[in-house]
């Protein structure tokens, strides 16, 4: 199921379990296992849904790791799928409990639409994050001042303390770059991102310096797509591809919109976006050239 829009189906969005954050990758692993067991037993999503008093949509979202699990539901599904091995059952139930632990961002949940909370969970769980940015510097690389300028653009009516909390959430998110086993982040930006003076000249100059600093991180790669390419492969706009360490977990494409987001994980969709990203990476300035380009821009701003 590609599209996740909370509340878009009449039977969804009312279940409080679906609001759970929690270590997303654990939920995804659990979901992948449950799908295997279900398929091996020849049970349809409708039948599985009936067993736990839910719909096949709920089953699909469980199997994609998009929503939290109740221990009782997992136990009932395992029984339905004929999984009787006590060790396997216990491991699955232990994973279920682990998946229920809320993420660090729970304290900001009043600010977070659940479609974005899902993204935070995936971002924290990813081993490789590939992004293409057409408009703004990626959230993981924004300075506090730049982030504030972007927040004000997006939330004009918001009181100052709310803007402060939104900025602090964004900065907290960046902790992932300095944690012990950080993900690799490979980010391509259109040159327009660097030219648009968000927050004014000084803010932008510091932001460019920050970008130059992150190019020094061994697990971060930045590339700029120069203007002189008359057009490029990403006609559709910014997007992110998240990859997870577990070989069983598929890549996920994330596309943010104004009031919702798309999560694509069907192989055809992912392949298409992967192809576009690969073209962008091959067309863009190399990481080394990007660093010299940034240095020159800092001098000329």
């Amino acid at each position: 199921m590609g599209m996740v829009q909370p509340g878009s189906h009449p039977t969804e969005g009312s279940d409080p379990d679906e609001q759970l954050g929690g270590p997303t990758v654990v939920r995804m692993l659990l979901g992948t296992q449950l799908r295997r067991f279900r398929e091996a037993s020849g049970i349809t999503p409708d039948e599985a849904g009936y067993e736990i008093r839910a719909t096949r949509f709920k089953i699909s979202r469980l199997e994609n790791g998009r929503v939290g699990f109740k221990e009782r539901d997992v136990a009932d599904l395992l029984t339905l799928y004929g999984v009787t091995d006590e060790q396997v059952r216990e491991r699955m139930l232990a994973l279920t409990r682990q998946a229920g632990t809320p993420g660090w961002w729970a304290q900001y949940s009043d600010l977070l639409p659940d479609w974005f909370e899902t993204y935070l969970g995936l971002e924290q769980a990813a081993s490789l994050i590939r992004t293409f940015e057409l408009q703004f510097v990626h959230g993981l690389f924004q300075t506090e001042d730049y982030a504030r300028a972007v927040m004000v653009l997006g939330h004009r009516a918001a009181p100052a303390d709310e803007i402060d909390r939104r900025v602090s959430l964004r900065i907290k998110r960046q902790d992932l770059l300095s944690r012990p086993k950080p993900p690799r982040v490979w980010s391509v930006m259109d040159e327009a991102v660097l030219r648009r003076p968000v927050g004014g000249r000084e803010v932008m100059r510091s932001q460019l310096r920050r970008l130059l600093e992150v190019t020094e991180l061994p697990h971060v790669t930045l590339q700029v797509v120069p203007f002189r390419y008359g057009g490029h492969a990403a006609a559709g706009g910014s997007f992110t591809i998240l990859r997870f360490g577990d070989p069983d977990l598929p890549d996920v494409v994330y596309i943010e919109q104004l009031t919702s987001a798309l999560y694509l994980e069907r192989r055809d969709d992912v392949d298409h976006y992967m192809e576009v990203m690969n073209r962008l990476n091959a067309e863009a300035r190399t990481p080394t050239d990007t660093a010299s380009f940034l240095s020159e821009m800092i001098r000329s701003v």
Binding site: W186, R267, N278, P287, D289
Partner: protein
């Protein structure tokens, strides 16, 4: 690497329309050997055409999934041997492929942090992946060269950015020479590379075999050559050995890759249909 453009805002239009570099990897409707290899290794950087070709080959030779993993393990043992036992600190790795685990510089730098690796590939997507993902620790160095194995002049000229050709270099030709047909004289290519490195240097080769499980391998080659844009020529143990002419073979010589200094008995028994070895230049 030089900056190819100025950061001034007014020059956008100066050389506009230089367009997109075209290459076989951009055409995802035809299988590409680097992506097919990624598929066999269980990677996620492959497309429907690659998976179809990969599956066709697996049907012909089901042990292929093991064979490609055994080849990666061979690469790691070779690099470890060269770094830890032979004292090599410079590697010219031709045919990089899509990054996976145990890449040359990772293995080398885990033994000697100051190891330097020049990666060479002729595919823009492989290269952009290598530049982004095969990054050196600060004490060593990695570089990335856009060249075809046949273009040895270009390889050697550009590798000199990173490697000192007055000191020993290990030339790594891992699972690449079978993509050079006899009409392109692979032995002459190997000889030109060897001419450029000083005594004390090494040559490491792994090569798909035509004389291990010959029927299955012939069927696999036929299927792949029908479906993949890079054509394969598989060779015998004697043919692979001839690439080492003039060199001193490091024991046990040119053998099945799983039997080349295996870390464990079990490793030596894993199926693989490739020949491999290391030669030393006196």
């Amino acid at each position: 690497m030089t900056s190819e453009g100025s950061a001034q805002a007014h020059d956008w239009l100066d050389d506009a329309g230089s367009g997109t570099p075209e290459s076989p990897t951009f055409d995802t409707s035809v299988a590409h050997i680097a992506r097919v290899y990624d598929y066999w290794l269980g990677g996620k950087d492959n497309y429907a055409a690659d998976r179809a070709a990969g599956d066709a080959a697996l049907q012909a030779y089901p042990d292929l999934a093991s064979s490609v993993r055994v080849n990666r393990a061979f690469l790691a043992r070779v690099v470890r041997y060269l770094t830890a036992e032979a004292g090599i600190r410079q590697f010219l790795d031709i045919g990089t492929g899509i990054p996976t685990s145990n890449n040359t510089h990772e293995v080398a730098q885990s033994v000697a942090q100051d190891s330097r690796v020049a990666y060479v590939d002729n595919d823009p997507i492989v290269l952009s992946h290598a530049r982004a993902l095969l990054t050196s620790n600060p004490k060593g160095a990695t570089d990335y060269i856009d060249a075809d194995l046949r273009d040895t002049d270009r390889i050697l000229a550009e590798a000199a950015r990173t490697l000192d050709f007055t000191r020993p270099v290990a030339i790594m030709l891992i699972a690449i020479l079978h993509l050079i047909g006899d009409e392109d004289d692979p032995a002459a290519i190997v000889a030109r590379l060897l001419d450029a490195v000083p005594p004390g240097s090494y040559l490491a080769i792994s090569h798909v075999a035509s004389d291990i499980e010959p029927e299955k391998m012939a069927e696999m080659r036929e299927r792949l050559n029908r479906m993949v844009s890079q054509k394969g020529t598989y060779r015998t143990q004697a043919e692979v050995s001839s690439f080492f002419s003039g060199l001193e073979l490091v024991p046990p010589g040119v053998v099945r890759i799983q039997e080349w200094r295996p870390d464990a008995e079990l490793e030596a028994k894993r199926p693989a249909a490739m020949w491999g070895g290391i030669g030393y230049k006196r």
